[in-house]
Symmetry: C2
Subunit: 210 residues, 2 copies
DNA sequence: TTTAAAACCACCTTATTATGTGATTGAAGC
DNA sequence: GCTTCAATCACATAATAAGGTGGTTTTAAA
């Protein structure tokens, strides 16, 4: 039996969801609320398996509600429910530990399926949302192409630079003279088209060289 | 009509997939191959809407095949097909522009649905895969908690540091004296528990302060 | 109203980095 | 055998950063 809590400010939808879910085999709605004002208490006392959380609610919105729950670190599955698949909300919700993100236009049968998935550790997402997530994914990492032809030794030096080592420390760490470290670093700067330690470090992070 | 290409080394599965998909209303299998040796040519000439790509294939594996296609930048949807939802492959595939990632144990009806979704710009994912993606998501970004109580001005300075600016440049950029920049930076170092520019930069990246 | 903190500025000293110009050795490739 | 290049080291100078001490002004909270 999957126990569900619903947070949704629209009375019609709240009723509709409750009827649908509570009336389905294997599901039970413990409560349906129009805002997140007492969410910490409610989650604490009802101990649901899954929470359906509308994003756009007056007062404490869904994202805030999500944060509150994750603070008291319930390991309840939280399904975000929204009308639009706009980027900002998706990102923020997923950042804060939402387990899924589905649109309100999801057909009933599918919705039950999603709740089921969420309850068993899955991460149901409307596919348009998933598409956006993937786009963000390929966008945050752009490596592979450029390692700037750094030699092995140069990579080692760069890694130590990133760790905040001074020339002296690098020299002793690598058992070479400080002047050698210097030459390596000069070469690194050339290859990376920078001319300071911090630029090199920044580039190393940005281009995932380290 | 959704046109599909299949890459799968296992003959039984290849046959099975072909029969299933080609036999379904609205789907057409243009070809089914046991490896990616000629994938560039095949994709170029068949012009499919969706490609089902097995990850584990002898010779050129699925990820390589994916990369090859994305190099010639076809905007074909590519669905990765695999037995295991292991982290490394998921990550690499999504990095390289896969449109979906589904397990081979996916039931036939669901598979067709997924192909449909992929064809219409969605990103179908087996929910266990989606769960892993979400986990990576909340893992790569861990902000919010720690902005180290940097003041507005300090954040500005740090941002310029990250951009590789020297004290002098920051001073002129922010219309303040170099000594003021110095004091700000001293404060930043204190708050970040570091004692050099490059450490601060590294920390800024790591903790997504910038 | 006192306190605290942020933002601003100055001076001084030492340490570290950046840049330039060489040079030697050994391994890989032609 | 010759060339190229990574890796090593050296010396010198200028620029920048780091650390310390001390100060004023403004703003916001206690």
């Amino acid at each position: 039996m999957i126990k569900v809590l619903i947070y949704e400010d629209n009375p019609q939808l709240r009723e509709g969801l409750t009827m649908l879910i509570d009336g389905s085999e294997g599901f039970q709605v413990l409560g349906a609320f129009k805002n997140c004002s007492n969410i910490a208490f409610e989650v604490g006392s009802y101990k649901p398996n899954v929470i359906l959380m509308d994003i756009d609610m007056p007062g404490v919105n869904g994202i805030e509600g999500l944060k509150i729950i994750r603070q008291i670190n319930s390991d309840v599955s939280i399904l975000m429910l929204t009308v639009f698949d706009d980027n900002k909300n998706i990102f923020e919700a997923l950042q804060n530990g939402a387990n899924g993100y589905i649109l309100k236009k999801t057909p009933p049968a599918k919705l039950l399926e999603y709740i089921q998935e969420a309850a068993t550790g899955g991460a149901p997402m409307t596919s348009s949302v998933a598409a956006q997530v993937l786009k963000m994914f390929s966008y945050i990492n752009i490596p592979a192409d450029n390692d700037y032809n750094l030699s092995e030794r140069e990579k080692q030096v760069l890694q130590l630079l990133v760790k905040g080592y001074s020339y002296k420390m690098i020299a002793s760490e690598m058992f070479i003279a400080m002047d050698t470290v210097r030459s390596h670093i000069k070469k690194i700067y050339e290859k990376l088209h920078v001319n300071s330690k911090s630029e090199a470090v920044a580039k190393a992070f940005r281009d995932r060289i380290v």
